[in-house]
Symmetry: C2
Subunit: 231 residues, 2 copies
């Protein structure tokens, strides 16, 4: 977090395993030179798109995500947009027994603040990653969590964080069909107030393939290298 922020999202949505599609779940916001914001979504696609559409249009009281000058206000605006969608769509979803299920990550930096990262819930409230938490995950998070728990730290370099995000995503991609390529990578370096990198990565990306193959080989070598039990 000191060096900046790496955000990575897949693009798979599904209405059952027999009905999968590709949708971008990452949107970028802010005013270059002043603020830089990346928003990623998990949950019901109709709902997360409705939240983003309301953010694009601006809230009913006139507030706009791009106008926010501190990150807490930005997170509040996203939360308020979620609540507006809940007011509009919640009763109809309830009538159809469909859960109101959305989660967002909002990361970025405003002039005068450090890089900050928030997780915003269906109820529109949110938590912020603090000094003991070096990453946040939403959606299908379990497969990719162990490597982050073992290695992520406050002083992780940006390039290492990119590698870790790729490894974590690759573990999830291999083990769960509800997560799929391509993936969208956004990198924000601290105190630049612009996007260092915004890149779509598909199955043919040479760097991703290198990471995937070399990581598998390294794991295989590492476990073979562990001592056998003496029992």
């Amino acid at each position: 977090m000191r060096a900046g922020l790496v955000m990575l999202a897949d693009t798979r949505t599904n209405a059952g395993v027999d009905n999968i599609s590709t949708y971008r779940k990452t949107t970028l916001w802010g005013r270059p030179g002043k603020s830089v914001l990346c928003l990623t979504a998990a949950g019901n696609l109709a709902l997360t798109q409705a939240v983003v559409n309301r953010l694009r249009r601006g809230l009913e009281d006139g507030r706009h995500l791009d106008d926010a000058t501190d990150m807490v206000t930005a997170a509040e605006i996203v939360g308020e947009s979620i609540r507006a969608v809940h007011r509009a769509d919640g009763p109809a979803l309830e009538a159809h027994d469909t859960a109101f299920n959305v989660t967002f990550l909002l990361g970025g930096q405003m002039r005068g603040e450090s890089v900050r990262l928030f997780q915003i819930y269906s109820a529109g409230n949110f938590i912020e990653a603090m000094s003991d938490t070096h990453y946040l995950q939403i959606g299908e998070h379990k497969y990719g969590k162990p490597i982050l728990d073992r290695v992520m730290g406050p002083d992780t370099r940006i390039h290492d964080a990119i590698k870790l995000a790729m490894i974590s995503m690759d573990s999830t991609l291999r083990s769960n069909l509800s997560v799929g390529m391509p993936i969208d990578l956004t990198v924000i370096r601290a105190d630049t107030f612009e996007y260092d990198l915004e890149r779509r990565i598909d199955e043919t990306d040479p760097y991703f393939l290198t990471i995937r193959q070399r990581w598998s080989e390294a794991l295989r070598a590492a476990y073979l290298d562990l001592p056998d039990p003496e029992w």
Copy 2:
């Protein structure tokens, strides 16, 4: 599976994070020299204990797990015991809005058969691991799945399978409080018709600590060794 079977279960049960306890989830069955069976449980503890108690007592029609002479019949007996518990407890659970939630793994070998592994569901039906599937997991399975997906194969040695089971469990233990030490390890080598190993492993076990520490170091080294992106 060719070399045999490694089964590993934790002992954590919880009724909320403020109420955790330790219960053995592994039971052993069979007749030495003829059959060797290991049963592990996940789900509601009252239900899984009820299923095991009925198995110990024998089914109402007189069948007993120790008497089975083929693995499919053994899996059917476990399934029938689950159905008997469902008939006895299901209506009361439903009245209290509690899910009937149990899953078992049954692994072992009978004379005249190869080593076989089954997963038995709440409904008492079951699947068997076939030639394309080299492991099965129940309970909190996601954290520990990626390493198994990457490395497990039909020709994995028993000692390597023990290492992999420990690494997979360690990943889960680190990332999820609902899984906890000690862990129970059972090893069945093909064509011996007895338990090669039955061992309880706690946080002070030197081999487990070695695996935990060296695996973490190896992962850290492996990811640092990956090339940086050129972007």
